[in-house]
């Protein structure tokens, strides 16, 4: 797949349901790819502290919920981007081994590795002669 260009549009969540906390909520940009043994999700979450990040797997729904606390000194004088929380959900197929999911947050990037269950691994079938 061709590489994507850098863009700045933060996609705000448009939802009829409101959040209790005031302020914008964004859909983070993600890459999701699959290998033979796992599914990998990478999300851009700038400004998110590890303790404010919640990854939750409920039945087949993986939800990323991140709260961003603003600590910038001074008063704002010029603004091109908004700061807000991140939220996004994905439906994950049940071929994932839910007990082995691992997540890592580093430098504003979240990486979630979802290993496939043994049963879902591709298997080569031996043909007897």
């Amino acid at each position: 797949m061709a590489e994507k260009e850098l863009t700045v549009d933060k996609k705000e969540v448009t939802n009829s349901q409101e959040y209790t906390r005031e302020g914008p909520v964004f859909n983070p940009d993600v890459d999701i790819y699959e290998t033979d043994s796992e599914l990998v999700l990478i999300a851009d979450l700038p400004g998110v502290l590890k303790e404010n990040l919640d990854i939750d797997l409920n039945e087949n729904t993986l939800t990323i919920n991140a709260h961003v606390t603003q600590t910038q000194k001074g008063t704002i004088v010029y603004k091109e981007y908004d700061i807000g929380d991140y939220k996004r959900s994905f439906t994950i197929s049940n071929v994932i081994d839910q007990s082995k999911i691992q997540a890592e947050l580093k430098n504003g990037i979240l990486r979630v590795v979802l290993p496939k269950a043994e049963a879902a691994m591709p298997r080569k079938i031996e043909i007897k002669t």
Binding site: E3, V8, P24, L39, G74
Partner: protein, 149 residues
């Protein structure tokens, strides 16, 4: 190259922006929607903050290595240049989604007052870049004493 002037009241463009913002606000209030996006298509988006001593310019640059960013201050001009490289994945992966961008970026902005370019510092934290630009002495606020007769 993207060229932006930040809050310079003498600039006509700035005044046009003000008017446009005001119009947008008026319409948004009327239609009950909130407009938050700036619609600029240059990368990265920048915010600026100031206090009595410093001007802070921030940008969200998740996953960008400090060594891939170059910051230059020249008089009242600030240049930010860099590249976002995505970690290479194996060739035989199948992408379900690819939304994160990569490539080179560069921005130049005009600062509203002279800064002390010797003491500019930059910090990358949680994927957010903060550039602290100490104001030059002549740009700092001064307290004026009032004499009583």
């Amino acid at each position: 190259m993207a060229y932006t002037t930040i809050f310079r009241p003498t600039n006509r463009l700035y005044q046009y922006d003000l008017l446009q913002n005001e119009m947008n606000r008026l319409f948004d209030n009327f239609f009950g929607t909130q407009r938050r996006t700036t619609g600029s298509n240059v990368f990265p988006s920048l915010n600026a903050y100031q206090d009595a001593e410093n001007l802070y310019v921030t940008a969200e640059l998740p996953g960008i290595d400090v060594s891939d960013i170059e910051i230059n201050v020249e008089g009242d001009t600030l240049h930010i240049k860099g590249e976002r490289k995505l970690t290479n994945t194996d060739k035989d992966v199948r992408y379900h989604r690819q939304e994160r961008g990569s490539g080179q970026f560069s921005r130049t902005i005009h600062l509203p007052f002279p800064v002390n370019s010797e003491t500019v510092t930059a910090e990358m934290k949680l994927g957010v870049l903060t550039i602290s630009l100490p104001k030059a002495d002549e740009a700092k606020p001064r307290k004026i004493n009032i004499k009583t007769a």
